[in-house]
Symmetry: D2
Subunit: 332 residues, 4 copies
């Protein structure tokens, strides 16, 4: 249940009610909200009368739900805005991982020249093998910060576990919670306390319910700027790396108030399908795209098969403007 | 292996070689082809020299493969053509099932008025319960034939098992092999002998490999007019009915030579996502769409939750033209 | 709803009520039953008073449900009995396919010498490729009949589609509905009319609900002797061929009244795990096992990797008796 | 590649070779091992000659593989030993979560009275909703330690993310890496440095390859005492909570050298199937079982539907001894 208290309710009273209801207190839009389990369906009259509005919820998708707030939330990345009524589709591109300064500079320079505003690259790589390249760590974050300064790009980079979440929060413009960290409450709670936008990738074995509930951890921690990122789920089909769940995206658009970003690169796992999928996502009216690009994909240290080269990205990027226009949207 | 024999090879010799190699003989483009298991990798010299071309294949996706023929096959439904170099995206619409004459006439009349050329409706319904509506059977086929005569529409309707495949072949303009019949060789072989286009729906638990191999049954039976239809696979996600596999569609476009039709209605299972998904499919450059429409979806005898009403279909249909144009295609 | 009518209800009245309720009529245990959709929850008083008992059901799992009949159904294969209160676990073994007379005779002779009573082998193989061995067809059925005469074994063999269901019904002692034919109503309805036990394999992409509803097609057709066979479902895991769903078996034991047979060979796909899994299934208290055995597995024409050789089968078979005894059961 | 160096190789030389090969150094059985990516297939002669043995590996399952060491690893939990040649099946039981002192004392006392040696209970619960009970945290760990002192039980409890891994390592006798933390390298690396046995639960969306590679993180960190725990994977089937993957267990037994523990409670999700599944697992010859037990399951604060009450556990536990004996094993 979401209990929106009257403005100026005495803080001690707010605290007392929260304890009574085993509720989380969060401030949103100038109100104190009390958030309880959705199993709570009725309120005692003395609490009810302190409330300006009460939302009885079906499931623990609460702050993120369209039932609570139909209007899509806005997320601001500096002067860039997505969600709300903007009809913006944000392009984010960059390599799987920061490898060297010249590699990341090459991509950053290219992205900048194309008019792309946000650069992605991982520095803490959630590899499943201890014997693979694990990312450059802090050094990679510093290189990304350098690219921000040099090209005026915003930076998005991934947290893979709670040991380095503070470093990522410090360096990134958008904190990416990796698919393998989607259930990591240490990380999610740290993001809830952060004052930066958070993009949560869906775990490839995670239901939509769990996915949106991961966003609830961040929202109920006090950070309202959360984006969801669908990047493919694991199914029986192995000809492609994962299965991009656009039915799920339709569900998220209908039932939540969060901007939705799509990552066709990881879903497909092969260069050849990425552009077609990116156009499909754009025609669905999503709020952003995350496309892996590398100066020389065949020599990439990770995800070699799925990253576009600059020429491929350029062709894709140009085609997206007309697809976006056909559905009343704009690529930013 | 596909062994394309020289023109005018003596039929007795063709037969003898087929027996020797345990091969299927098929005539395509004026040639006799011998089709063997893909495990066969080399030929005896005396057979080799009768061949104009030999295709050593990796898997039993052979006639359907881009390796054998990169150019996409054309399929003709009367004077309608899709595939090849047409850049056509065919719209097919209609209700889940024929229920009554007035119901199917209402849809047929509406489809005709919109400029849609192909009407879909099931008459043998592959319900999973013996206690549900099972379709009108032959009576439904006759009603569909009546609509064809009245409105000049082409008819597509589903075979659910081999007991009624001959009736469907007789009445339909396009024979739809239902998802639950995708492995039914009795049905596939009958389609291979038919002289009408066949649309094969992917089983919701079927791999892409098996899906295309179902097409091989029809192609190797001598029928070259085969279309594949992706309609959602079964995954762990249950908020939507199935998961539309657009990564798989990218695979089919890259690795096969068959037109690909998309059915977002069955994948989604809910009215609200169908239009967004249909636009996404169109932007991917698919060869056709199958959209369920019903005069009064809430009262439909089956699939009530996913069928569009006329107003919804009209809004969707109009929006598709500009999406198609944005990717250089045309809705037909 | 299951409406059990009073004995001696006038047949014309039965027929009239069935038409009124859109119900299927079936005779069981000397009673006429009217079977309607489970959506029907209440009856008109004039029909209610003709009923001896009325079962309001939650889903279309009706005749097969523990709610309708808690006691497990008995199935008789000649003088062999399983289910009911027998605590019997039936061993069925044999090769994937009948290949030659000497091959099937070798297995039949071996099975007979071990005390196994039921021989399995396919003659119509539901291969996914048209270029693979498709089975011997009628000739294979005749060879199986010869083995029955020679060794006194019961025969189980598979229907893959409706085109040959009558031949299988004629030759087999147990009709096996193959996993790929589980939704094939032409086949299921023919089995409903047959007077022989039916074993239905679960489709690898089929839910438990759909699986049991396939049994409802046979039961509501008037054939009470139905067994369910779990043989592995398709999941994201590819190190093994399928995933044997023993949680599902626990569900079937709790919620249905049908004997459950397990096929670990197809689930595993590799010889090495079959014996361990067969012991696991036995300890779960299942009603039977289907184990693939071949005189020379490496040279088998199909499923080469998963068939046990005679020595492996012998070791397994001997170990099963003590496992069965540990849970109060007996291998027959 | 695993390069087992000669004893007494100069540490500086070991270091130099590790740097050259980008290898991890680990000490096992008195040897220094260099561990490189499995992509490395050949060695320069000057390194080759320092090696006593070289294992060229197919995949990054290296230290855990049967190819490297066929004999199953032993794990010691105090004076309890499993794995190796012990034929022991370890029983672990306890509630989902520590709720109160009286609740945990009740279970501990019961377990002790039954002869069970290891008590399980979570204190940091990886709930998917921020609005559910999250566990008692440190207080719960302290209660578990108290039970250890009072009843002489060993304690296993779960890490859900890296923020509290040190606390769990300090208090537990066996560190349980939760299914949702299986990819959490911060946690896995901390376990690699710990001197206590580690039990890794398989992520419900994780392949066997990834699962065993999680163990490689711990093994290559220098901790040899690792157990794998299969607890059900997520599939399309929703009648049960998860699908226990016994085919996968057969794979792990054949291809790895790690003890395998089974958790049928989480797989099933319902009390009714747990005992049958536990007997099945035992008959497969697994190294341990994890069974949830609660003094009053219906009032449990989490996982209420799947925990056994004491009477059910007692009946199960007694039946397991004869099943274990039937396959030459002993419950400890």
């Amino acid at each position: 249940m979401i209990i929106q208290l009257r403005p100026h309710t005495d803080p001690a009273r707010v605290q007392a009610m929260a304890e009574l209801l085993d509720a989380i207190i969060v401030r949103q839009n100038g109100h104190s909200l009390l958030l309880t389990t959705s199993k709570l369906k009725t309120l005692a009259p003395e609490i009810r009368e302190e409330a300006e509005a009460v939302f009885v919820m079906e499931t623990d998708i609460q702050l993120a739900s369209a039932q609570y707030q139909r209007k899509k939330r806005e997320v601001k990345i500096g002067d860039l805005v997505i969600g709300g009524e903007t009809n913006h589709t944000l392009m984010i591109t960059g390599p799987c991982a920061v490898e060297t300064e010249s590699q990341i500079d090459s991509v950053a320079s290219f992205a900048h020249s194309m008019g792309v505003k946000v650069l992605r690259a991982g520095s803490y790589k959630p590899r499943t093998s201890p014997y693979s390249f694990q990312g450059l760590g802090l050094e990679g974050l510093q290189l990304l910060a350098k690219m921000r300064d040099k090209y005026g790009l915003k930076i998005i980079t991934e947290v893979k576990d709670a040991t380095h979440v503070d470093a990522v929060i410090e360096y990134a413009d958008i904190i990416q919670v990796g698919a393998k960290a989607m259930y990591d409450q240490g990380t999610l709670r740290a993001c809830g306390r952060a004052r930066k936008p958070v993009l949560i990738k869906r775990g490839f074995g995670s239901t939509l319910q769990e996915f949106v509930q991961a966003a609830e951890f961040v929202l109920s921690g006090g950070n309202e700027e959360v984006m969801l990122c669908e990047r493919g789920i694991r199914t029986f089909e192995t000809k492609t790396r994962f299965t991009l769940d656009l039915c799920g995206v339709a569900y998220l658009k209908e039932h939540t108030n969060l901007p939705v970003i799509l990552d066709p690169s990881h879903a497909m796992g092969y260069r050849y399908g990425v552009s077609d999928l990116a156009r499909a996502c754009t025609a669905m009216g999503v709020d952003g795209l995350l496309i892996e690009t590398h100066p020389d994909p065949d020599r990439a240290w990770s995800d070699a098969s799925q990253q576009l080269n600059f020429e491929e990205f350029k062709a894709l990027y140009e085609s997206l403007h007309s697809v976006a226009a056909a559905v009343g949207r704009k690529i930013v």
